[in-house]
Amino acid sequence: MPIPAPVQAAPEKENVRKLREPLHSHKQLKLLPGYIIITVWVLFTFMLLGWVLCASLSTTPEIFKGAVGTFPSGLHFENYVKAWGSQNVSRIFMNSLGYSIISCFALIFICAPCAYALSRFKFWGNKAMQSGFVAAMGVPVAMIVLPLFCLVAQMNMMDNGIRNRIVLIFLYIGINVPYTTIFLLTFFANLSRSFEEAASIDGCPPVKIFWKIMFPMAQPGIITVTIFNFINIWNEYFLSLIFANSDQMRPVAVGLYSMINSMKYTGDWSGMFAAVVIVFLPTFLLYIFLSEKIIAGVTAGGVKG
């Protein structure tokens, strides 16, 4: 069953054009300046990431000698073992993994029904709610953080225990609700109504229509928005800094920052670079396998990066 997703149309067109246009050396020559500019930028990106990868496999003295990439004493994979074991990296990593996965699942089950209702039914406040969600995407975090902190503190939720984790997950969900809902709303709006009509004629109740028919059909959109949510939550910094005050609670971004600060005293630079790579790995792996989906998603329904 073809699902009308506008984002998937573009690559096809591209392939067709590619088949019709064989490599013209004249045309490619005209594009040479473009190639050069893009290549320089791409090389720089690779050097930046490659250097960190190499540094994470070198020893600290080698890094300071500027000998990164030559590996005079071989590859030091033990940096990773050390960072994972002794440097809290395993803890912040597992924290972030937990926060991100739970929030991503919750976001789908909270936002998908809402997006569906907003896209399909006319009711009082529908338009206002949509505008509210869109506006919320532009609200600076500085506008919401103080009352949230006050609320959480008054409820004694920052206890470095399970309640603190609930607060963090609640916030990760809350700040991503508008974006997720609007993204899925555009997706549902593009799905044909004929399936629902057919099911409804057969006597299927609307709630069941959603969960059994529409929700599965929205899967491509749900996957895309979940990748975004995962990356956003994984990299979230400001709220985590305020609401995760202890080492036990910290997600990767804030944990990495406090590690860097303590690095000034321990001087284990290779271990720090190993930690940077570990923190960066999950989103990077996601990106390697799903970059086309992510790129299509940036411009498709969403206006957030």
Binding site: A55, C150, Q154, P206, F238, E292, I295
Partner: protein, 295 residues
């Protein structure tokens, strides 16, 4: 389709609950807070003392905040020009029919998925290092260092822009790809060169995309925090401080520049940032009157 009130309520309520609690309630309370003197963020409303617009006047006469605001405007303006120019350039190159477009596009967007903390570490420890840095030769030629107080802001700006180009490029790219090839075809028949084609066809049809890009850029600028914190050597480093960093130091932190504890001031900072976004949005909407052109 049969209307089903119970279902609509059940479907909408959870999202609405989160929305009300993380956006509606805090926004209203922040607006209120900005007009009060509040000794502690956690103080209940009964302990607030009404002070009118004192918080705003006090903010605007605080040198550190003025510096922070100025830094933000500099990042927004200079960073914006750099990022938009590069993003547009890359988008035009990528849509000009070069080979390996998907690969290039993926690599240029890559920094956007990397944690800003990790990116900042890469830049500071490698690119700007004064021992083996990639850009060390440039600084050496001028006899300075990237991370010294005079050049730290520039370093921060470059590193930040590098990470932002990919996202805005994708928005431009999707805009350019939506322009019908008929326009370019017609232009070619009329004998336009690449420059006039770009100026009169691509640019004039990209107004809406510019608006999206500038709005998004402004929203991200208003939340500028992590880069500033990572480039600070002391808690509130005035060379790279931004309003959000000041708010953090003012309300939560152990800042060395905090003269008084007043959560109302923090709230006023939030309002100032929101006003900044609204103004940009409004100016964009008026200046770039949307294309009635369908394409």
């Amino acid at each position: 389709m049969k209307r089903n009130k119970g279902m609509i309520v059940a479907f909408i309520l959870p999202a609405l609950f989160f929305f009300a609690l993380t956006f509606v309630y805090p926004i209203i309370r922040t607006i209120l807070m900005s007009f009060f003197r509040i000794d502690n963020v956690t103080a209940s409303m009964a302990q607030w003392q009404f002070s009118g617009i004192d918080n705003y006047t006090k903010l605007l006469s605080t040198p550190v905040f003025k510096t922070a605001l100025l830094n933000l405007l500099k990042i927004w303006l200079f960073g914006g020009v750099i990022v938009m120019a590069l993003a547009l350039l890359f988008a035009v190159i990528l849509s000009s029919g070069i080979r390996g477009k998907k690969f290039f596009r993926a690599v240029i967007y890559l920094p956007n998925i990397v944690s800003a903390v990790a990116l900042a570490v890469m830049w500071q420890q490698y690119v700007f290092s004064n021992q083996y840095g990639l850009l060390k030769p440039i600084a050496d030629a001028g006899g300075w260092q990237w991370l010294d107080p005079e050049h730290k802001f520039l370093a921060l700006l470059l590193a930040y822009c590098f990470g932002m180009v990919g996202y805005h490029m994708l928005i431009f790219l999707s805009g350019i790809e939506r322009i019908s090839t008929d326009y370019f075809e017609a232009g070619r028949i009329d004998g336009t060169n690449q420059f006039t084609q770009f100026r009169y066809i691509t640019l004039s049809l990209l107004k809406g995309v510019f608006k999206t890009n500038i709005t998004m850029w402004s929203i991200t600028s208003a939340g500028f925090f992590v880069w500033s914190q990572l480039f600070s050597s002391v808690t509130t480093d005035t060379t790279v401080i931004t309003p959000l960093v000041y708010l953090y130091a003012q309300t939560f932190g152990s800042g060395n520049t905090v003269t008084e504890r007043n959560a109302g001031l923090g709230a006023a900072i939030g309002i100032v940032l929101a006003i900044f976004v609204v103004i940009v949005f409004w100016v964009c909407n008026t200046a770039l009157k949307d294309d009635d052109l369908e394409f």
